[in-house]
Symmetry: C2
């Protein structure tokens, strides 16, 4: 186990419609829906489905001009990013940039609930969009 | 928690080169490499990096004509699939097909170590390639 990465906090999937996607993840696979929320700041509706010590996060863009909305239009439905929960987000960012990897957010952004997050640039992380998260 | 899905067993990433990808996942993020293996049956070299109760799995195709090799050529590096560990793979497949979802493998395939797996068709699962796995 890494001393700094605790777990996969969630795997985020972009979907066209939450209710339709839930027929697969909830109804057929039997995952519970932990909660749902609207995030007007990022123009997404979200459903969180806990599984093990992680979550599947379904993201439905509410504005086609938003980042997620444009992603859906360009790439279609699918896996959007992996979020890693870390013990010290500043230290992790420092270690990544020290190794020459490029952040989208060099300083963590803060959500209304006080949790912090930062995205690593997918070109830097070999095609994978990685979110770092500290509770 | 679902009665049938225990956890995200792994998230699989397609990479061009294991050593290069490890500079991010192992050296910069600090994840340990659990083990590595060559899988000639599926034409991939694999590195497994445990994180929480899951793993990041790096897949490097060894044959450009293989399934993973063609995927890499067409889509580039990135997230390939999510593997869900289930308690009863036949029951899960039955539940999925009963809800109208389409499997790539309607009967589980068996690995040399006796574990069983089956893939859900990504068009059926809203663009996500989902592997089911029973230990």
């Amino acid at each position: 186990m890494s001393d700094s990465v605790k777990r996969i906090n969630h795997v985020a999937l972009v979907v066209e419609d939450l209710a339709t996607a839930l027929t697969f993840w909830r109804d057929a696979l039997g995952l519970p829906v932990g909660h749902t929320e609207s995030n007007p700041a990022e123009d997404v509706d979200i459903a969180f489905l806990p599984v093990g010590d992680s979550e599947i996060e379904l993201l439905k863009p509410t504005d086609p001009e938003s980042g997620i909305g444009k992603y859906l239009a360009k790439k279609g439905q699918g896996i959007h990013h992996i979020c890693l929960e870390v013990t010290d987000i500043e230290a992790t960012i420092q270690r990544l940039t020290g190794h020459g990897f490029e952040m989208i957010n060099e300083t963590p952004r803060i959500r209304p609930d006080g949790t912090r997050y930062a995205f690593v640039h997918p070109k830097s992380a070999f095609g994978v969009l990685v979110e770092l998260y500290e509770a």
